[in-house]
Symmetry: C2
Subunit: 349 residues, 2 copies
DNA sequence: TACATGTGTGAAAACGGTTCCACAAAGCGT
DNA sequence: ACGCTTTGTGGAACCGTTTTCACACATGTA
């Protein structure tokens, strides 16, 4: 059960360790004949180089850390696939960590991964605290953040124009005749939430729809929070003919709450989400939403990261903005006829 | 930017390298005074031990590899969370790899992870080929397989009684009065598929319902295949009043196909799935399914794996069977009324 | 007093690779 | 025939740890 080392290969092929190493890395001169002998020995012994030892000398582990807040939100597996595929193509392995949106977990993971000497990080921050990211930058460890940007840190990023797309989503509802549009936000301190909220506000303002703070709630991007905040809105007695949620999971939670309340989507209340997870197209009614290219964003982040790893540490932080688009499905219905009168005094089922 | 090593700490604290190591690992004797000095040096220099070097000498990387066929199927993220949490609690890191149900990818990942000297594997095989698993066993690398077992290999496993629960699912439909029950299977060569198919057949047989091979189709556990196979069934002109799919993603695909065909679920065709992914409870109508404790299965697999890693390599392969249960939701409706006329006069309410 | 035992420390040998350096032989231009 | 470059190879230092061993000094015991 003794593991085979480079030494065994060298002995078996009757050459020096250096030569075996040269054959493996195709570095330096090796005669065709010797090379063949070495390869035969490698095959014969079924030798697998120890990457740990290799990394120790070279200082590179060919591993990147992927830190995500919630892998059960389908948006992130899509990102993860993109990261993984792009990494693999370039000979890198990915270590995926799930922070549960907990900054402490996040710190713990980063420490663990740094001790494992990962070559770089792809990161979706779980909170507004920039210290973790700053620590990486200070230590000259390449990082690319994705989806959410970090205030107070100059770092490579892959993003979309959240404000613009939230604006489009809200405008879509306004265009359908809605005026009483509720908004369920993500955690207030995330840039994603702030920007989407800003887009919502701007659309209302531009359309001359008065802003009603009672129609704005804060969730945590997860299904149950969307469900709970929607129930609160319905119970509040406020008139609501449409709701825009800052992501699909909350939008779906909201849809469910509406249906449980005895109202119909989209006839009584229209719903728009954000992300375009697979689920959005599968539910009934299917969800109108902003489609983010999650897979592509993951792949892009890896490309940027590898450029950093491979090359110039200096240079400004770069930001890539990805394209999104509004995907119109069933959850908004057609143009609203008699808005304003329909939901007066609808009670609990 | 020079990384601090144990040597720097030793110099700074004016002790030997050995002493620093002893302080870090709490091994051997160190005086209180020296220990304090060392800790102060560690803090002062912000020293982080290099796990690669550590692993190289100890031979243990405190990392486990998790190999899954499809992370976009929500069943697997749930498993992954269980694996990750249980691993973290025990000080292990998880490397998650996605094989895309491709045996070549699977082999490639296992090779890469072995070279990184992971301490063990948690595995959901993507095909019937046992050679990868056998290779690990032969090399004395701990493995636990999950969800699917491997024919021809004696290996620790975390499973459920697929046949029994497929039987329950089918019986549930039969109990509601259904006789023309279609079955959409997973890939034919997976044990999971075989067992669930066997359960379906057995239920039919026990209930005296004649088996119609034209009602059985094979998918690949993914949404589009469920959708396509259901369309084929509908187009075939066969009478179908219910369909049992070997997992939820296919069941949801089938539901969608039924609705697109202009029929209603459950009024025209009842649907049962298998897995109980979150999505199952969210869609409309919600999906009756067999609930598997995915998170728990992941955690359990890690426990078994760590026992192997820590201890007796010998001993028989152990199999843990997890509990599942039938979760009745809306997709099957209530008892079928008019099957007397419709289904050739079987039974009586 | 002498001797085992317990405590505290440092030197040096692994671990399994990469890489720098030295050296030898061969080919080549003058 | 001479030096110069190109090939081909082996020796040894090094990467950052852990761990074995040796040794020094107290302390308790016979």
């Amino acid at each position: 059960m003794k593991t085979v080392t480079i030494k065994d290969v060298a002995r078996h092929a009757k050459v020096s360790i250096s030569t075996v190493s040269r054959v493996l890395n195709e570095s330096g001169y090796v005669s065709e004949q010797t090379s063949q002998r070495v390869w035969r020995a490698i095959e014969a012994l079924n030798y697998k180089p120890n990457q740990l030892a290799r990394s120790l000398t070279t200082g590179r582990s060919r591993t990147i850390g992927l830190v995500l807040p919630d892998i059960t939100n389908p948006f992130f597996p899509a990102v993860a696939r993109g990261v993984e595929d792009a990494a693999n193509v370039n000979g890198y392995t990915v270590i995926l960590c799930n922070t549960d949106a907990d900054p402490e977990q996040e710190k713990a993971y980063v420490t663990a991964l740094r001790e494992k000497r990962v070559d770089g990080f792809v990161f979706t921050v779980s909170g507004p605290d920039a210290s973790t990211i700053l620590g990486l930058i200070e230590a000259d460890i390449p990082v690319v953040v994705i989806d959410r940007c970090v205030e107070g840190a100059s770092v490579d990023s892959v993003l979309i124009y959240n404000e613009q797309w939230a604006y489009e989503a809200t405008m879509h509802l306004i265009g359908l005749g809605h005026r009483a549009i509720a908004y369920i936000n993500g955690p207030d301190d995330l840039t994603t939430s702030k920007e989407r909220y800003a887009g919502y506000r701007k659309a209302l303002a531009d359309a001359g729809v008065s802003f009603n703070p009672a129609l704005v709630r804060t969730g945590d991007f997860r299904y149950p929070s969307g469900h709970a905040r929607m129930r609160e809105l319905l119970a509040s007695g406020q008139e609501v003919t449409a709701v825009f949620a800052a992501n699909d999971m909350m939008a779906i939670g909201a849809m469910r709450a509406i249906q449980e309340w005895g109202l119909r989507v989209p006839e009584d209340i229209a719903v728009v989400g954000f992300d375009d997870i697979l689920l959005a197209s599968l539910i009934k009614p299917s969800l109108t939403t902003i489609s983010q290219p999650a897979y592509h964003m993951g792949a892009l982040a890896v490309e940027m990261l590898l450029e950093r790893i491979g090359g110039a540490q200096g240079g400004e932080a770069r930001t890539k903005i990805c394209h999104a688009r509004l995907v119109v499905r069933e959850s908004c219905g057609g143009r609203r006829e008699e808005f304003g009168t329909r939901n007066r005094g609808v009670g609990q089922p």
